[in-house]
Symmetry: C2
Subunit: 344 residues, 2 copies
């Protein structure tokens, strides 16, 4: 049921004209870099249609940059699935790889990874391209957003490995979800995709900080709704619907309805803050150029909310009825068909 749940978003966003050009180059890159190894893995990967997600969330990227962004998505999504419930010791390897991913933006671009596997090698290559032309301030912000997300991901894996994922309250889960959804760095990348930067004082303003957090909440909760069938198949208890059902002692349907209500409430609050952006610009005494870059920063958030939503409705990643090797692996508690944390 949940993958077809629709929301009433008050803005629409464009799709990159470079989708097919970049998709072709991206799919070749994914195989070349060993990010998909088996035919079953490639079939599953193609069904997710991440190129569409990138083309919707970064609609103004150049054709070359669009390929880079798709390449980045592939390693991030594929890494996300590498935990194997049948091998709890794998949590240590997930952490080791995640920490390599965290330090990559903290050293000179093009430094080879110290922990070597397809994921870390791919990220070192992508980061050299993704950081190009961006200020130290942007790189600092991206590195911290990315590091916070990966650290939270490891906590999630550690909870699953310890069999503790069903222990968070709704309030704890909502705070945790904001960190695991990975939206802050995804919005940061919007600036790189369009070749601009949000003024530093805007980024530091409470209105902008809160907008980013609310965008993360909206997208995280929507994702929990749309990916519900996949996560149930995978035995993943880190899903708002499952947390609500347990805490409220209600039916799945009632839990899904409450998750929908919470998501819509976050969206309303986000929109209220968006309306306060001109007032924030006045308060900061911004120039015309700074206001333009602030508007583009707000658009980057919209591209993510709407682009991710449109993609989530149709991606094969969240499909309920799947009869593929990947779905069989998921039912068996394995995160993916291909192991990408080892060398070959």
């Amino acid at each position: 049921m949940p993958q077809d749940v629709t929301f009433d978003l008050p803005f629409s966003t464009p799709v990159s004209p470079h989708l097919e050009y970049a998709r072709e180059r991206h799919l070749r890159w994914v195989r070349d870099r060993g990010l998909v190894r088996s035919d079953a893995g490639f079939e599953e990967y193609c069904s997710w249609d991440l190129p569409q997600a990138a083309a919707r969330t970064y609609p103004y990227a150049s054709a070359e940059d669009m390929t880079v962004l798709m390449n980045w998505f592939s390693l991030a999504f594929l890494f996300d699935d590498q935990f194997d419930a049948g091998r709890p010791d794998r949590a240590d390897r997930v952490t080791e790889v995640a920490r390599e991913l965290i330090v990559t933006p903290l050293r000179p671009a093009d430094t080879p990874p110290r922990v070597v596997c397809p994921i870390t090698q791919a990220w070192a290559e992508v980061w050299a391209q993704l950081s190009r032309g961006m200020s130290l301030t942007w790189q600092t912000r991206f590195a911290a957003s990315w590091g916070r997300f990966l650290t939270a991901h490891c906590e999630e894996v550690d909870l699953a490995a310890a069999g503790l994922e069903g222990t968070l309250t709704v309030k704890e889960y909502a705070q945790f979800r904001r960190r695991t959804v990975g939206i802050h760095h995804s919005i940061d990348a919007g600036e790189r995709s369009r070749g601009f930067e949000v003024p530093a004082q805007v980024q530091a303003h409470p209105v902008m900080e809160r907008m980013r957090d609310l965008a993360a909440d909206v997208i995280g909760f929507m994702n929990d709704i749309h990916s519900f069938e996949r996560e149930r198949r995978r035995g993943d208890g880190h899903n708002l619907i499952a947390v609500l059902r347990r805490e409220l002692g209600c039916s799945w349907e009632e839990a899904a309805a409450e998750a929908y209500r919470m998501t819509a409430a976050c969206l309303v609050e986000y929109l209220e803050l968006e309306a306060r952006v001109p007032e924030m610009c006045d308060e900061l005494g911004l120039s015309e150029d700074e206001r333009r870059r602030t508007s583009m920063g707000v658009e980057a958030v919209q591209h993510w909310i709407n682009g991710n939503y449109e993609w989530a409705l149709v991606t094969g990643r969240y499909a309920a009825d799947k009869d593929t090797p990947a779905a069989a692996a998921e039912r068996a508690g394995r995160g993916s068909v291909d192991d990408l944390l080892s060398v070959n």
Copy 2:
């Protein structure tokens, strides 16, 4: 010879009135937390007089915060010495611990460390206090500065473990030294110590960015001069004097003179930039309050340049003639008398 080399600094800076109060509490904490284990380790640690370094670099901290800053210094300096040249495999443990230290500011304060040893436990405790009351923007900047430093430290250890530390050119070494000296996050902590924040747009301005880099160069090169005897005793080839001597094929005296000249040149350039700060404030259209916080930010840099300099002239850490168990351990290639990377 080099520890008594003097520089002509055009500013003097105050010393905290809380030095002795905080020293007493700090020394108890260091023993309680297992950061020094043996009597020889404690004797060596006391001879460094890090409390004086903290009291000079953060002269306006409250009595309680002064203790926190000393505690932070202890774990950072002690971790710096944990590589053991006789056990190259120890580089892996140094990296594992460093990455734990890197992620600590990227997750909610008070989260217990995943990699457990006295250093990581002490840092988790100190970070909870050091981050208190600071904005997300400051925490982001500190986390990235700290992470870049620790990543560079691991590169330094890896080069030593591979026997490659004598391979950098002067130009490469200067770039590397800027990263290994650890000054950016030390200056960031100046804001916490005095309860203020430099405006985000100032921190992002090229003048301020360059001032921070030059302060790192000045302090890194001064440190190479003042710690030369210690590093020669330890067989550490990552020292500007050693790199210059090798590249120029000159005597130690000539290399030391060239290192002095390079340091003085960086100081001159730093001072030229300092003189441009009022112009930068005009360009950014800062309010009176923002100008005041910018001035305090410049003072935080001065506190570090001068405070570190005054301390370096007298600390036992850099003493040339030492006949202690710690010096014997250094001559044998061991970084320190106590192993702080294991659990008891």
